[in-house]
Symmetry: C2
Subunit: 335 residues, 2 copies
DNA sequence: CTCCGGCTCGAAAACGATTTCGGACCGGTG
DNA sequence: CACCGGTCCGAAATCGTTTTCGAGCCGGAG
């Protein structure tokens, strides 16, 4: 049913109906209620395609999954996806997702979504220190919110996890257990969160009067193989580490694999700590000590921040940094 | 730029341009090429909102994730999602996803997407024997394709995994290893794939002259707790199983957990086989023997089938059943 | 009585495409 | 010459809203 027919049926002008439905001020509460009731009764609801054309909006927000080959932590993204979807329910927006093929084509993916398919706003994660996606969106004045901070451009809404704190706490815990040669198998530092982790790691060492040893620091892909390769590099050092902090649980598993292959027992001979609480860590033997990352709740929250920003709340007030919790298990030594 | 301005600029009528862009027959190859070149040169591309209104299509297909609490196998869905997205690239369609809150509200989720948000077609998984989603979509004549068969309605395109074969092969393998009391901790049989698994399981037993024992068959949620609870029920039997086939790797892990808690060693005292090759299985100790499930490739294929169906290919020709491969590891006994 | 604010009405102009339709041109065929 | 198929042209209708605008009504305040 078109709005004209509906108007005829309830004997009201089209304009009043449209205004009632769209919350205009110059229609009395009474008429509005009447229209809403009639609409429900007759099953009228405005055709979204028509309204979208008129309003130049698409009622959709886009979410871009990072390219798989750059280290794709399954539960991480799926939980975030679910959180976003949950945050979106009852808002009238729907969720369009797509995956970037590669790091290079990431901005193109954004352009495709923004320019051709018409989403009203974007959400993404894995922000980088210098992030072309942010530059692009701000230039085009497309609203967005992210998981993670960046040094690019003007303030924007985000939720982030305090990875500096994670790095610091990880080091402190290992120091308290008597370790002195603590390595960091980090994720690549073009990601902001890797930078913060490194900062926290080095700061905590210095606090105890230990100078960070370049031989104990490597960067690798956020994958199991990345972790495995990272530890291989570390073991070439003159004096190898007795404890390893990792950029992600998957990397930690790779580290432990290499450890085992070299005849060492993770959790006994060498302490290992991961990050982001991938479910795999619980099942691994020894169970992986790690840091929490509530990506599902983060997804929900990011949606709220984004919507607030689209309604005019200044971005400065829409930035949250959450403190991760250590989840002690067995891989960093006997309790 | 609107089409009118573009038309003026290249000195051609609007109608010819539109026809050229939409592949009509009554425009020569020459003019079409000319229009396309000019469009690229001047950066014109038709506003999707306008064309969608006119064509009453939304250039989008919807994918519904099953509700988490019904047993949400993370990598399973994320891989499928990635496959779908990969299948969709270059087709001009985009992907709208949403999650159903509960089994009951599943059809409502579909209605919301189909009636309000306007997707042109749907993809979903976890088909059930009697599936209201299928009934609804066929009644409304909305194209769709699924992961999994169903007994509902008329033929439709799908990719499915031959879970009957998995059940059969699992039993055969366990029989070959000398087991006689083989249990099945199955997923709920309102899912089609659970039915097929059960059929294969029972058929293989009968082939060897063993009557399926009702005490060795339970159904549980597709979660770790479901598996754990299933084995608890089985252990109450007078003569408990020496081997357990499971509906999913997560369930198998629950089974093994209960086994360990009862002082039995999975893989030595009791053989366990899972299903669907969840990455967790690789890391578990003992590593989980399971069956492959190429959900990523399935997602890609389902998109192809769906698009073919939308272009008129009869559904009968768009149905594929893939045979799963056994992935032998340690949990079903020493090699 | 006049004026004004709050509300309603109806018509009409966007929004940006696709599609139809009648007319015209042009080269070739009968 | 008449006719035809293949192209191209232009104008106009259509998709279903939202939004604007001028006009009108009514009750209460001044």
């Amino acid at each position: 049913m078109k709005i004209e027919e509906f108007a005829r049926r309830i004997g009201m002008p089209v304009s009043t109906i449209s205004k009632a439905l769209n919350g205009y001020a110059d229609v009395s509460a009474e008429t509005r209620a009447h229209v809403l009731r009639a609409a429900r009764r007759l099953g009228y609801s405005p055709n979204p395609l028509g309204r979208r054309l008129r309003q130049k909006s698409s009622d959709a927000i886009g979410f871009v999954l990072s390219p798989p080959q750059t280290g794709f932590a399954h539960p991480f993204f799926l939980n975030m996806l679910m959180g976003i979807d949950e945050g979106l329910v009852e808002t009238g927006y729907h969720l369009i997702i797509t995956t970037a093929r590669s790091l290079e084509s990431e901005v193109d993916t954004f352009k495709r979504l923004v320019e051709k398919q018409h989403v009203d706003a974007m959400i993404f994660s894995r922000t980088r220190r210098n992030d072309p996606r942010i530059a692009y969106l701000q230039k085009r004045r497309i609203p967005f919110a992210t998981f993670g901070r960046s040094e690019t451009g003007k303030p924007f809404p985000f939720v982030d996890i305090d990875y500096a704190a994670a790095g610091r706490e990880g080091v402190r815990r290992l120091l308290a257990r008597g370790h002195r040669r603590i390595a960091l198998v980090n994720s690549p530092t073009h990601y902001m969160f890797s930078c913060y982790r490194r900062q926290g790691y080095e700061a905590a060492l210095r606090d105890c009067g230990i100078a960070p040893d370049p031989d104990l620091y490597v960067e690798e892909d956020i994958t199991e193989d990345g972790g495995a390769h990272g530890l291989q590099r570390l073991m070439r050092a003159a004096s190898p580490p007795t404890a390893v902090l990792c950029g992600h649980d998957l990397m930690a598993i790779g580290v432990m694999r290499t450890l085992v292959a070299a005849g060492k027992r993770p959790g006994q001979d060498v302490a290992v700590i991961g990050s982001d609480d991938d479910p795999i860590g619980r099942y691994f033997n020894p169970a992986l000590t790690t840091f929490s990352a509530e990506t599902r709740r983060a997804g929900q929250r990011i949606v709220q921040l984004l919507l607030a920003a689209m309604q005019g709340t200044p971005a400065k007030a829409l930035q949250e940094v959450w403190t991760p919790q250590l989840i002690p298990r067995a891989s960093d030594g006997p309790a």
